[in-house]
């Protein structure tokens, strides 16, 4: 009677505590011997991939004077930045500025402004490229640039072998009013880059 009660109690305990880990057991000496053990593993979901832009620099064009002999001068700069992702997959880049213009013709919608001349908009072009894909990819408002990430070794000091290339150009004639030479002044704009996992 006592033996039966003990067995029932142990069985009830096992049923009521299904997640209880059982201790490993040694075998007893005999013609054969059987022991037991359990293996456990906890798998957690992945964190969202992390992305980061490194190496952005302000772009400053030297003072340019509009010349009738060079009315369409469009100085450009080239610099490098890292578009990084912690995991596998591409990145997606978009750009914004306050109140962009609608893209018209050759003008993508980005511009510089001098508060002293509220009616003058100097068009800006922004293009990206990589060593693997050197063709320039221009970004306009509402565009996105999808690319493989920069090399994981990319740093703020990296060049084209590891980093993406950003080309910024500015027109010396205004887009609005069209083709009006911009008066001398201090034109500027802040652009915001948004990088996301693709």
């Amino acid at each position: 009677m006592m033996i039966i009660h003990r067995i029932l109690f142990a069985l009830a305990a096992a049923l009521s505590l299904p997640s209880t880990a059982f201790a490993a057991t040694d075998g007893t000496p005999g013609a054969t011997s059987t022991g037991t053990f359990q293996a456990t593993l906890t798998v957690t979901p992945p964190t969202s991939d992390m992305v980061q832009i490194i190496g952005l620099e302000d772009v400053s064009f030297s003072a340019e004077v509009y010349s009738p002999s060079n009315p369409t001068a469009f100085p450009q700069t080239e610099s490098y930045l890292c578009l990084l992702r912690s995991g596998l997959g591409n990145v997606r880049l978009s750009i914004s500025q306050p109140d962009p213009l609608n893209p018209t013709g050759t003008y993508g919608g980005w511009y510089l402004k001098d508060p002293a001349f509220p009616s003058v908009y100097l068009p800006v072009s922004i293009h990206f490229a990589t060593l693997a894909d050197p063709s320039l990819y221009g970004l306009n408002p509402n565009d996105t640039y999808i690319s493989t990430p920069s090399s994981s070794a990319c740093t703020a000091a990296s060049g084209p072998t590891e980093a993406h290339t950003i080309h910024v150009g500015v027109s010396l004639v205004g887009v609005d009013p069209a083709q009006t030479p911009a008066p001398p002044g201090h034109y500027s704009q802040q652009f915001t880059l948004l990088l996301e996992p693709e």
């Binding site: 075998g27 000496p29 013609a31 037991t36 456990t40 593993l41 906890t42 992945p46």
Partner: protein, 189 residues
């Protein structure tokens, strides 16, 4: 003489289990004596085996990422002992769908395929002389027995056997608590 011999023979036949004393011959032109040779054969002793030192193995927590993550338990030592000379067999079994593989089984069915999620597991058996074997579920592997000095605290080459669990968390696996229960059967070879 003849009568005596006959009587002696009858006694031997009537009481086969009784050891007869050797007899000397009597003095004569010839003389005959006798002696018995006996031999008792018994069944060989049954080898006694025992498995000791098994421990539960916690493979820890692995966070999924976009890459395959190797998982290893490292060597976990135990003794497969035998009372007499000879090798042993080690047979690890896991009751799961009668497959030959080993698995860690989740408590949930995250992928909705009708059975709890599982991750394949490889179990390696190492003997005391550095041989390593990939075990199949329910298939005995012959190895040398552990030294008589092997006990639950023994570790290392030449001192104890070991098992090593190996798996991989891939980007197609699902988060969850995985486990497996295994029986280790040791028998004389």
């Amino acid at each position: 003489m003849k009568v005596l011999k006959t009587a002696a023979l009858a006694m031997a036949l009537a009481m086969p289990g009784m050891a007869m004393a050797a007899t000397d011959g009597t003095l004569g032109t010839t003389s005959t004596g006798t002696f018995d040779v006996t031999l008792s054969l018994t069944a060989p002793p049954v080898s006694q085996v025992q498995v000791i030192g098994l421990e539960n193995i916690d493979l820890g927590t692995q966070q999924l990422s976009g890459q395959n993550i190797p998982i290893s338990s490292g060597e976990r030592y135990f003794c497969a002992k035998r009372s007499d000379a000879g090798n042993v067999t080690v047979n690890i079994t896991q009751s799961f769908n009668n497959t030959q593989g080993f698995y860690l089984i989740s408590s949930i069915d995250a992928n909705g395929d009708g059975e709890n999620d599982k991750i394949p597991l490889t179990i390696y058996l190492g003997d005391i002389v550095l041989n390593s074997y990939v075990l199949l579920n329910g298939t005995a592997q012959a190895v040398s027995q552990a030294p008589s000095s092997c006990d639950a605290s023994s570790t290392g080459l030449g001192q104890a056997h070991h098992i090593l669990l190996s798996s991989t968390a891939t980007n197609t696996d699902f988060a969850g608590d995985y486990s497996g229960s295994f029986s280790v059967l040791v028998a004389p070879l």
